[in-house]
């Protein structure tokens, strides 16, 4: 039986699968090869080294983003949709998120979202420099949010939902932290993300209005 021949996409897929099953730390060339039922060194016929394999993982994950842009919609809705699409990767590939954000890559997969966002911002009336700045700000916010989301479940450890043991914090040194312990302990990532995003949209909308005068 001719098993599917080894190929770069198959290797990348196996890597993603392994990361999602056992976490980013568990990944190794030997484990990937074993999962594929193949010798370790065979991988190197298709991938130059581990680092570029991880780059390929990031690129593949990123290219899985589904952008459904409606040019007729309100521009704020278009921004919302694009930001949410980006965040979706954290749900589809939670364990891969750290790999993606910790590795800046220069490829069409990373450029397409950029192109879409710039087009949207420019169509609203922002000039080039502003569009780039606003985009960078959005990306920083989204990346930071994703890091928080995945950071809270590094290994899907026992729930441990409160970051800090309430009893342990000194009420005189940290009065606010103490009194807000319950709010700090719980975190509805979805709501949190939407809250910040709305604030950002509102801020750039204000900037747009102030610019029109």
């Amino acid at each position: 039986m001719p098993v599917e021949p080894l190929s770069r996409p198959r290797i990348v897929a196996a890597a993603i699968d392994l990361i999602e099953r056992e976490g980013a730390d568990a990944i190794s060339m030997r484990r990937i090869a074993a999962d594929l039922g193949v010798g370790v060194m065979s991988l190197y016929n298709h991938v130059p080294n581990k680092a570029t394999l991880l780059d390929a993982v990031a690129e593949t994950v990123l290219s899985g983003i589904e952008f459904t842009d409606d040019p007729d919609a309100d521009w704020t809705d278009r921004v919302r949709m694009q930001a949410r699409a980006f965040r979706q990767i954290a749900h589809h590939y939670p364990r891969c998120t750290m790999v993606v954000v910790s590795r800046q890559l220069q490829s069409p997969a990373g450029m397409l979202p950029v192109e879409r966002a710039l087009a949207t911002l420019r169509s609203v009336g922002f000039d080039g420099e502003e569009a780039v700045r606003i985009l960078r700000m959005f990306i920083a916010y989204i990346v930071g949010s994703l890091l928080r989301e995945v950071g809270v479940t590094p290994t899907f450890a026992p729930v441990h939902h409160s970051q800090v043991d309430i009893e342990k914090v000194d009420p005189v040194l940290f009065p606010e932290t103490r009194s807000l312990a319950v709010e700090l302990g719980a975190c509805d990532h979805e709501a949190e993300f939407e809250f910040g995003m709305e604030l950002l949209i509102q801020a750039i909308a204000g900037r747009l209005a102030g610019r029109g005068r």
Copy 2:
């Protein structure tokens, strides 16, 4: 001559030093021990394992933040100062930044900035829930910004200041990216950070005003 006895702070300092000199990837218990002129296993008398050593690194770096809070200043200035203080770590310890943000820790070092920020926000009039949300948004933005700043110099590689080879991008597929290549290539991190921060402050100021009516 009685060389300074081995101790946890000395080990942590050596680790930070090593990371700053050779990058986060170069760190290993053997290298740290060698730098200290000491056997590898001696480290384990003061540190249970590598993971908690890195936690200690993060905590030490974080506790180096200098907060100079002026309770009489305008609250927007106080927020500005706290955000900038946080970002300072990326300048003092550029190579350590990734270690810090990729590791959520629960310790006074991580809690003090939180306490300060919450106190500031509450003093302005935000209720607990809002203060936590706003703080989380700010942290997400700052962390994302720091990641961008350190990501651009992963190994202090040859300048390589333009993320993408302008010639390589297809002008029909990526018209905006192409026409904004120069803006995308250059990035004044300081200005970029300030821009986003001002937008955020403006946004929450607007929220505060709207809340007062």
